[in-house]
Assembly symmetry: C2
Homo-oligomer: 329 residues x 2
């Protein structure tokens, strides 16, 4: 299988991407990793002894985090992100991974790779850490700001298929993000979607409140892109605020510094369990090829996690299964 990596996107590009490709190439000889970017930058990082299952695909432009997504994708046709997308579109790669500009990646998915037939609106998924360490697949996290009830139903179907194909979960439990657990709760969108989800061929378990998402009560949670994005960033913000407060408090006296030093491994474990990088690799579901988003701050370890997930998705025929599910619908 062939995976194109946008080697120039993300906070730690290109070094982390080259490192993760080297590590992945050694571990999975059946996988060909294509680093897309400027060869003059990538070749020196790769060195001379690069394994035969890594190659470089030249792309001389870069889409930055401040670029306006749609405009950048339309104009920067020789950017690492767009070239990687084109390789997927043209069948030169089975998947692409990027830790770059999220909006631009969604635009690449829509405009370069193209929508999957039968899908009205692709959805961006994210994996939230949960107390039971199984994580929860949440979508849409911001691809589609004004979702209709039928979009939520498609997210539910795609999310279920992803969890069963990539994570091996049998009959994934699907929840609807809402402000209360009762069926009649919510806004016009969730009220209309509730009944449609009950009829859909999924394991729908009802409404889930955002305070219970991290408890791991379901395997897939669906929502419109606006509230999903609000939830995602609220969890990130709360975690970073709490860790900052802990840092302040635990370094305020000599006693607390000593005790905090003794607890360093424990704190690290908590931070790791809340760390999105541990679950890196969120798919843009609903495009006609595998497009995977890595966290912007992905390091080499996180990128390798994304590669692992992508391999599983390719190996289990995710896109063919999705195409099959939605063809004729």
């Amino acid at each position: 299988m062939r995976i194109a990596i946008d080697a120039m996107g993300g906070d730690h590009a290109p070094r982390a991407h080259v490192e993760s490709a080297l590590s992945a190439a050694a571990e999975w000889p059946d996988t060909h990793l294509i680093l897309v970017g400027n060869p003059e930058v990538l070749q020196p990082l790769l060195g001379n002894g690069a394994p035969s299952n890594i190659s470089i695909e030249a792309a001389l432009e870069v889409i930055g985090s401040e670029d306006e997504p749609v405009k950048a994708v339309r104009r920067k046709t020789d950017s690492s992100m767009v070239v990687a997308g084109r390789m997927v579109k043209e069948g030169k790669a089975d998947a692409m991974i990027s830790a770059g500009n999220t909006g631009a990646l969604m635009a690449t998915g829509l405009l370069v790779v193209g929508r999957l037939s039968g899908i009205e609106r692709p959805g961006l998924a994210a994996i939230f850490p949960t107390l039971d360490n199984k994580g929860i697949l949440a979508l849409d996290m911001g691809a589609n700001m004004d979702a209709k009830p039928e979009h939520l139903v498609q997210y539910a179907l795609m999310g279920s298929l992803y969890r069963s194909k990539v994570h091996g979960i049998d009959k994934p439990r699907v929840g609807l993000l809402n402000v209360g657990t009762e069926a009649a709760k919510g806004n016009e969108l969730t009220k209309a979607a509730f009944g449609m989800l009950e009829e859909a061929p999924i394991n729908f378990i009802g409404n889930i409140e955002s305070r219970d998402v991290l408890a791991g009560n379901c395997d897939v949670i669906i929502c419109d892109g606006f509230s999903g994005n609000i939830m995602l960033k609220a969890v990130e913000g709360a975690a970073s605020t709490i860790f900052q407060l802990l840092r302040e408090e635990l370094t305020s006296t000599l006693t607390s510094k000593i005790a905090a030093a003794m607890l360093r491994p424990s704190f690290r474990r908590v931070r790791d369990r809340m760390d999105y990088n541990e679950y890196n690799g969120a798919p843009l579901l609903g495009v006609n090829g595998l497009v995977v988003k890595g966290h912007g701050s992905s390091d080499a370890k996180a990128m390798k996690t994304a590669i692992r997930q992508t391999r599983t998705a390719i190996g289990n025929g995710l896109i063919a299964a999705l195409a099959d599910e939605f063809s004729g619908k």
Copy 2:
């Protein structure tokens, strides 16, 4: 000033409410506290030596957390919550505080106290803890699920007035909750509201992402009731998950138990700074009287905080100022 307290609502009712009333009555002799509830329950808790600025108003029914809000308010006309609302409506109290069923309190505001003239939809506010300890007033947290742009503008005006009248903030900075900071970001609602907020007579500072809310970048943040509720509960859920993970990790070995014991005061301070009870007392803005929501888990200290805020709001003529702002609009 006279404050009616729903003495039967909330997890720690009625004991915490009686305790907080006794403490408030001693501290503020100019304030008359009216405990609304079953006299047979309240009188023994109050004892014989109750001060003259505490009285009991009989109400024999109770609205529980599982009651359907509108139905409960319509049918349980002798409940502590509805009776307290009626006292505000009839001018027998200047404000009411309840830590009971949130939906029922909103219904009490709308159906018993009534809307403020000129306000289309009341909004439920909450105070989020922030790193700078000033807190942020966020509304709507769930009174109005399908808000229109003009509702958001009214929230901005009401929130600004509240922050300046109750918290003494000059020209409160108002942010719009959104998925990105650029003006063009968001869903149809926020895009339409953005331009109207720029025109409104407030200190509008633009879009704020949910990850930055706790950093204290603004004084008021406005949103529709659905996404506000998602954000509020996401922050609560993340905080409780992190503290639970810390508890697990810090009690896993003898060393970590000892070190954690040394750090107990630090942890308590962090928990207190993230604690909503420290900022207890969220107003339902837009009803024709002062209706204040206490957190369901309010203890006596938290209830006293709510009483303090309510006193300030009454003393500074909040409702008259709001009525003035919206009359003829």
